[in-house]
């Protein structure tokens, strides 16, 4: 099943971009998105307005083809609209818009906005308690996106508040110009987060990292994308 979702998503990316299959497959976020939507997130096209659903926030709004493709593969949007990607009247912009696309939880594109929103959302769901059941929040950021200072405001507060419902996945394709000496995980761990660093192309490794128990703490998965691995 998981293989089929990934294969389907790759085909759908090609529909959008006309790229060769290996380029579509190289999208840095693809395997993370498939792992989340195909195995982790408790959300479906039938529950996109259910207050108890898990929320996925794509903070790194750049290059959303893989995101749209996975949403289409999972039935949130009609695959037939994918070729309209980026067109004037399309709902599928080069950065996603929550008011246009079913299943998209935030409008993003400008870097450094998703994680602060995720902190407020995870806190709010926790305050809701039973009304939100165990709804969790997953936020995808990029390693270069982490340069935005707003992330560090959010990382610090989430750690102090012990936001157990908050999960961050950092897709690290070493695109940050100045890098993160000592590693990205250390920056979260210092603030009280649970952290795992894994091969971002490995479905079993991603699955295991997302299932780590982290009572009383937020959890971050650093998904390393080294294209030599694939």
């Amino acid at each position: 099943m998981s293989g089929s979702v990934r294969d389907r998503a790759v085909e759908l990316i090609q529909v959008m971009t006309g790229d060769e299959k290996h380029e579509a497959s190289a999208a840095s976020t693809l395997d993370v998105l498939v792992a989340l939507y195909d195995g982790v997130l408790r959300v479906s096209p039938a529950t996109i307005d259910d207050p108890t659903r898990d929320r996925f926030l794509l903070s790194k709004g750049h290059g959303p083809m893989a995101y749209y493709a996975v949403l289409a593969a999972m039935g949130f949007i009609d695959p037939a609209i994918l070729p309209s990607f980026g067109a004037y009247g399309s709902i599928l912009g080069r950065h996603p818009d929550r008011t246009l696309v079913p299943g998209v939880e935030i409008s993003s594109g400008s870097l450094g906005h998703g994680l602060p929103i995720a902190v407020g959302l995870a806190h709010g769901l926790a305050v809701r308690g039973a009304a939100s059941a165990g709804a969790r929040v997953f936020c995808l950021v990029g390693d270069a996106e982490l340069e935005e200072g707003s992330n560090h405001e959010a990382i610090a507060l989430a750690g102090r508040l012990g936001l157990e419902r908050l999960h961050v996945v950092v897709v690290d394709n070493t695109s940050s110009t100045y890098g993160w000496p000592g590693g990205i995980a250390a920056r979260f761990e210092l603030e009280g987060w649970s952290a795992r660093t894994v091969d971002g192309r490995s479905r079993p490794a991603l699955d295991a990292a997302f299932r780590v128990a982290h009572p009383g703490r937020p959890h971050v998965v650093i998904a390393m994308i080294n294209d030599a691995l694939s």
């Binding site: 008011t99 906005h113 995870a122």
Partner: protein, 322 residues
């Protein structure tokens, strides 16, 4: 409140400010509505300590992190809360301006922003704590309701109404206030509408929020109409269009001069008119002292306003003929 002393010079005595009223009313909104949440960045936390104990998690202090202040408010809105977000105007509007544009506006999420400091309440603190440009900045974003109460009673009515909506509202509190509330501005039935304070035959003067007392004094001996506005966005174009007789229109605002010039002109449409905008000048004053000293220095006291309005009206042949 000002009272005359033996030398007939006004002295100011302690009275309740809009900020005092906000700190007494906002905690009760948490009691009344389970969807209300308060989001703070260290400023004002003491006022909510007791409410925070009654309502765990619904008073969120993010520390000195104002980008997160707005982002977290947006997240709370996504969780179904009505966030009331509060700090000094520069840190609420200017520092996280992109968060206002995107996290709230572009994401189409609601919040109530309540600022203190206004244009120069923090006169002795200098430029860093002053935000005369806040209304102009928010006016550049679509979909914001901007409220400028002139009295604690007006603030309370505006705050209660905003807490019950789901829109994006900015409420601008000031230490400078009018002696008494305007009846229409505390009446929910007329919320968002301008109030006719005085009807005259000549020019129309629009006084915004805390400028009303100064304006009324300034035009005491002129045959003009005075309108009072607390809601400046959306601007009550219908009321202005319905009442303007003479072509002269003046708007007196307690923030950056000209902030409402475009909406006033638009309200008058193709009708020939002349507009005088009075507000805080576009300068870097580098002065401290008292708010009233700043008010006088910027020509926002009654005497200065009166001189500018008379000079403006004397330029009008119509006015001279009348």
């Amino acid at each position: 409140m000002t009272v005359a002393n033996a030398l007939d010079r006004p002295v100011t005595v302690a009275r309740e400010t809009m900020r005092d009223r906000f700190y007494s009313v906002a905690p009760t909104l948490l009691d009344a509505d389970p969807n209300v949440a308060i989001v703070l960045a260290e400023i004002g936390t003491d006022a909510f300590d007791a409410a925070a104990e009654r309502h765990p998690g619904r008073v969120l202090n993010v520390g000195i992190r104002e980008q997160l202040l707005i982002g977290a408010a947006a997240g709370l809105a996504l969780a179904g809360f009505r966030p009331i977000v509060h700090t000094y105007a520069p840190f609420l509007v200017e520092r996280p301006f992109e968060q206002l544009k995107l996290d709230l506006g572009h994401n189409d999420l609601g919040a109530v922003l309540v600022s203190v400091g206004a244009s120069f309440d923090a006169s002795a603190s200098g430029r860093t704590h002053q935000a005369p440009e806040d209304v102009a900045l928010l006016s550049a974003l679509p979909g914001w309701r901007i409220e400028v109460p002139g009295h604690p009673d007006e603030l309370e009515a505006i705050l209660r109404a905003a807490a019950g909506r789901s829109d994006r509202t900015y409420i601008r509190l000031s230490e400078l206030a009018n002696e008494s509330a305007v009846a229409g501005a505390v009446d929910g039935a007329t919320a968002g509408r301008m109030t006719v304070v005085r009807r005259g035959r000549g020019a129309t003067i629009v006084a915004v929020g805390p400028m009303l007392d100064q304006v009324v004094d300034a035009v005491a001996d002129l045959d003009v109409t005075v309108l009072y506005a607390t809601t400046v966005r959306p601007f009550d174009a219908a009321a202005l269009g319905a009442i303007v007789d003479a072509p002269e229109v003046v708007i007196v605002e307690p923030y950056l001069e000209g902030s409402s010039a475009a909406v006033v002109s638009a309200a008058l449409g193709a009708r020939p008119h002349r507009l005088l905008s009075i507000g805080v000048p576009l300068i870097e004053p580098r002065r401290y002292g008292e708010p009233t000293e700043h008010r006088a220095a910027y020509g926002l006291d009654a005497a200065s306003i009166g001189r500018r309005i008379r000079a403006f009206l004397e330029q009008s042949s119509d006015y001279v003929r009348r």
